[in-house]
């Protein structure tokens, strides 16, 4: 997964063996470590088999659709968060940006509170606004040198505050059939929201694997000082990454408004924690430089399967939080290559 950052020109042409013996050596000593990156995936498979063994209905096609549907919004949000975390930063503004997105959309399309009817044009405007908020996050973070933790924490409150002001605390119902169809209409048996989430996955995967920005993100996450010295435009990349995050949180706002058929300031509440958890459970390290969008897909699926499975197995609500906690720690313990960590904070 680690991108090979181009070595200084003097080394160009040196055979790759120079660096690989050490790696091969370590892997031969501990063959299991070669499987480490796939640990979350195995965890997902094991979890599914376990739940399926106890309740065969888990594997019904209808249940697969339901799991996919409950994973769609978390996936879009977690994809936005992934790049930020790979950078070694964090974006806490999920709930605020999502609220602004959902509230703007519900006020701009046909609704029960005003006479607007901008349809998809309104949706695009709202998502662009969310992208702009993300851009502001990034610009303030690099421009004023404030840790991303603080900037985005502030933006979270601002977002919820603005959403509250826009609505005066009330809830707006989305009447627009087109918007609702994202959640209510199906294509090839799956709700359209699921296809949108998959499309987002495809686009972010291309950004990660096929573009320069994708490479730069890993370089910065792996060692920002080195990345800066090798001429990577660190500040610009960071702003772009936060903008992508804001845009995807806005898209999450669209899907939330479509799913519940309403917009209010608290529509995103609880999303931050589940988003960060999904990213980390998938094997993306909070320290940056490791993981990626496929890990995030696996992490989101683990959380969705877990949520679905606990209801299917009838696990008592008193125990569910505990079970969830144990499994999160297990998943991270399996996937982190602790031998390579110098410091654990």
């Amino acid at each position: 997964m680690e991108p090979q950052i181009g070595p200084p020109s003097a080394d160009r042409g040196t055979p790759p063996q120079i660096s690989s013996p050490e790696r091969r050596d370590r892997n031969s000593r501990r063959p299991l470590s070669r499987l480490k990156p796939y640990a979350p995936f195995f965890a997902l498979v094991a979890l599914s088999l376990l739940i399926g063994a106890m309740n065969a209905r888990f594997f019904e096609f209808n249940n697969l659709i339901r799991i996919a549907n409950s994973a769609a919004i978390p996936l879009v949000l977690a994809l936005g968060m992934t790049f930020v975390i790979v950078l070694g930063s964090i974006d806490l503004s999920v709930e605020g940006v999502l609220a602004i997105g959902a509230v703007l959309i519900s006020l701009l399309v046909r609704n029960n509170s005003n006479t607007n009817d901008f349809g998809w044009f309104g949706v695009v405007l709202a998502i662009l606004a969310c992208g702009a908020i993300g851009c502001a996050n990034g610009a303030i973070h690099v421009g004023l040198r404030i840790p991303s933790f603080m900037v985005t924490l502030g933006m979270w409150f601002i977002g919820v505050g603005v959403a509250t002001l826009l609505l005066g605390g009330s809830t707006v119902r989305v009447v627009d059939k087109g918007i609702r169809s994202l959640a209510l209409e199906r294509f090839l048996d799956f709700p359209i929201a699921v296809w949108i989430a998959l499309g987002t996955l495809g686009i972010t995967w291309i950004i990660e694997r096929q573009t320069r920005i994708g490479r730069y993100i890993y370089a910065i996450g792996g060692g920002e000082d080195l990345a800066a010295l090798s001429g990577i435009p660190v500040r610009r990349v960071k702003i772009i990454v936060f903008t992508i995050a804001g845009t995807l949180f806005g898209l999450g706002g669209l899907l939330s408004a479509a799913q519940l058929g309403l917009g209010n300031a608290l529509i995103g509440s609880g999303r931050l924690f589940s988003t960060v958890t999904a990213v980390v459970v998938g094997g993306t390290a909070l320290t940056g430089g490791e993981g990626g969008v496929i890990n995030t897909l696996v992490g989101v699926m683990i959380m969705a399967v877990l949520g679905n499975g606990m209801v299917l197995l009838g696990i008592s609500p008193d125990l569910q939080l505990g079970v969830q906690g144990v499994l999160i720690i297990l998943a991270v313990a399996l996937s982190l290559d602790r031998a390579r960590l110098k410091i654990v904070k």
């Binding site: 799913q259 209010n264 608290l266 999303r271 949520g307």
Partner: protein, 365 residues
Amino acid sequence: MNSPNKDITGIPIHRRTFLRRTAGFAGATAVLSIVPRRAFAAGTPTMVNSIRSLSNPYHATWNQGGQAFAKSIGADYVTLVTEGDSEKGIADIRAILAKTGGNMVLNVDPNDSPDARPIVDACVKAGAYVVTQWNKPADLHPWDFNPNYVAHIAFDGVHYGEDTANALIKAIGGSGGIVALGGILSNTPAIERKAGLEKALNANPNIKLLDFQVANWKSTEAFNIVSAWLTRFGGDIKGIWAANDDMAVGTLEALRAEKLAGKVPITGIDGIKSAIEAVRAGEFAATVSWDPYWQGSMGLSIAYAAKTGKIDPAKEPKEHREFYGTGVLVTKENADEFYKTHIESEPKIDFNDYWGRVTGQIRQS
């Protein structure tokens, strides 16, 4: 990251700079939270509502009620919001007590039960009159603080949890399987409403509770749980009981996504607008409205009556000092009427009818 004094961008940031920025941010929030509508007039006491936030429909309506009452007596009106922070809630109340010199009445929904004590203490000390709602410690009683602690108002969760469960049971014809969604396990209303549900179930042996899950009062969590229930129980689910309207709305949308909206009756509690609309549309069997407009206005009105001598708290019976208010069960029969009087127009409330909605003294547990 390799040196403690660098932030993520690798540029040194001094602790003092960081502290100053944080303090500035916190200060700005504190100033913004006290928003006086007009300049404070001398003489007429200031009307103060302290609530969780203006972001939820419930407290927003509460606030409208407060505004309407203040307007009716020509007093200044102030809204304080705790945003779920007990410290902030108490500090803001102390600040406004100091600012008004105690010439105010306070209607407060304390963020957490223990908060009620310092709030009442501060009001007694400043000579202000206070009504608390929903949360207070069981051993804190208005009659121990005559005349300043005028009353405490709550709603009987057991009673209304049972009411909505009975409405649900009626809607499914008295027999079959139901599932139920509860609120945060440690919340008093969640515990009470669930107890009400269980009472109704005990009285109706033909109804089987297939599963009880906790969706933490949230639509989104309810959505996912209901989806999974459809896999587990499928058509065996004849009705769904939810401990609040937000979860009931999430339930409804999960059913709608499976083309089941309106086919499986749902009940909620709280009486938010979407819930009333769903009852009218036949998608909810029932909800209960607490009438937050009444809570926001009458809490002030009762305290104001004590301050101006219209009532003498010390002479009022205990069931006027600690009482359960009246909720309205909204079903298909009264939904249209309720919508007209409470949603489309501002509710008409007789601000001088202090005890009209008393339904008994709060149980001492």
